[in-house]
C-alpha cells in the first residue's frame, strides 16, 4: 500500500516530542474523547487536526471551542442519515 502521509500532514506533529504529547494529555490540557481517545490499555490516538488548532488558538479558547464543535458535528454518528442517489 502507498504511504498516506504527505509532508504537510507529517509536519503537524514533527515539532512535538513524545514527552510533550504525553504531558499535555496527562495534565488535562487536551480533552479525552476530543483531542485524544484511548484505543486500549496501551494505545491512545491523538487527533492531530484538533491539536494543531489547539496550538494555533491557545490564547483564544472560544475559537478552539468552535473547532471542537465543528469536528464533533462532522462525525458520522452526529449526522442525520443521508439519502443517497441511486
Amino acid at each position: 500500500m502507498v504511504q498516506f502521509i504527505d509532508k504537510q500532514q507529517a509536519s503537524k506533529f514533527l515539532s512535538l516530542s513524545g514527552e510533550t504529547l504525553k504531558r499535555y494529555r496527562l495534565q488535562g490540557e487536551w480533552i479525552e474523547g476530543v483531542h485524544w481517545v484511548r484505543i486500549n490499555s496501551r494505545c491512545v490516538r491523538y487527533n492531530l487536526e484538533l491539536i494543531q488548532d489547539w496550538f494555533h488558538n491557545r490564547h483564544d479558547p472560544a475559537a478552539h471551542m468552535r473547532a471542537i464543535e465543528l469536528y464533533q458535528s462532522s462525525l458520522l454518528s452526529n449526522q442525520k442519515k443521508s439519502t443517497r442517489k441511486n
Binding site: V2, Q3, Q9, F13, N40, R42, R45, R84
Partner: protein, 167 residues
C-alpha cells in the same frame, strides 16, 4: 516487510499495515508512534515496543474502525477499468459523476466520498483493500460499482453490435 517513506517506515503484520514515525519513536523511551492507512489526521502512541505494537495491530485496527474490505467481483472489474484509464491517460485523479472521487498514489487507487474526504478506500494493484468507510458507505460503494459494471457491459455489447453491422 519494511519500506521507508521519509520519516515513516511502512511495516506489515499479515494483512495489517502501520506507518512507524521513526523520529518520535526513537526519541521516546517507552512508547512508539505510528499512523494507520487512511488516517492521516491521527497519531497513535503505543506503550511498549514495536513487536508488541505489531502484535496488537489487529485489535487497534478493530478499535479504530480501519477495515479490510473485500471487493465484489463487479467492483474488481470496474477497478481494473479504472487502472486502465489511469495507465492509459497518465492522469492522477478522476472526478466521479455521482458521489466518489478517485486518485492514484503510486501503486494504490484511493476512493474518496465527495461529502467526506476524510474517509478513504485504498486498493493496491494486487487487489488488497483497506478502508475506513463506515459499513453502510462501503456497501453503497459496492452498489455503485455494480451499476458502473452494468453500464460498462452494456457499452461493450453495443460496441460489438456496431462492429457486426460494420462487418
Amino acid at each position: 516487510m519494511q519500506q521507508d517513506f521519509g520519516e515513516f517506515s511502512r511495516l506489515e503484520q499479515g494483512q495489517y499495515t502501520m506507518f512507524l514515525q521513526r523520529e518520535l519513536s526513537e526519541t521516546s523511551e517507552s512508547a512508539i508512534y505510528f499512523t494507520l492507512p487512511g488516517q492521516n489526521d491521527y497519531l497513535y502512541e503505543y506503550e511498549g515496543d514495536l513487536d508488541e505494537a505489531l502484535d496488537d495491530l489487529p485489535e487497534i485496527y478493530e478499535a479504530s474502525e480501519v477495515r479490510i474490505g473485500a471487493l465484489t467481483p463487479q467492483a474488481v472489474a470496474v477497478v481494473e477499468q479504472l487502472w486502465d484509464y489511469f495507465d492509459r491517460t497518465g492522469e492522477q485523479t478522476l472526478e466521479g459523476e455521482q458521489e466518489y472521487n478517485f486518485q492514484v498514489q503510486g501503486e494504490t487507487l484511493l476512493i474518496f466520498p465527495k461529502d467526506d474526504p476524510g474517509e478513504v478506500v485504498a486498493i493496491d494493484r494486487d487487489g488488497q483493500v483497506e478502508s475506513n468507510f463506515q459499513p453502510e458507505r462501503f456497501e453503497h460503494l459496492m452498489e455503485r460499482f455494480a451499476i458502473a459494471h452494468q453500464q460498462i457491459q452494456q457499452f461493450e455489447t453495443d460496441q460489438n453490435h456496431d462492429r457486426s453491422w460494420e462487418l
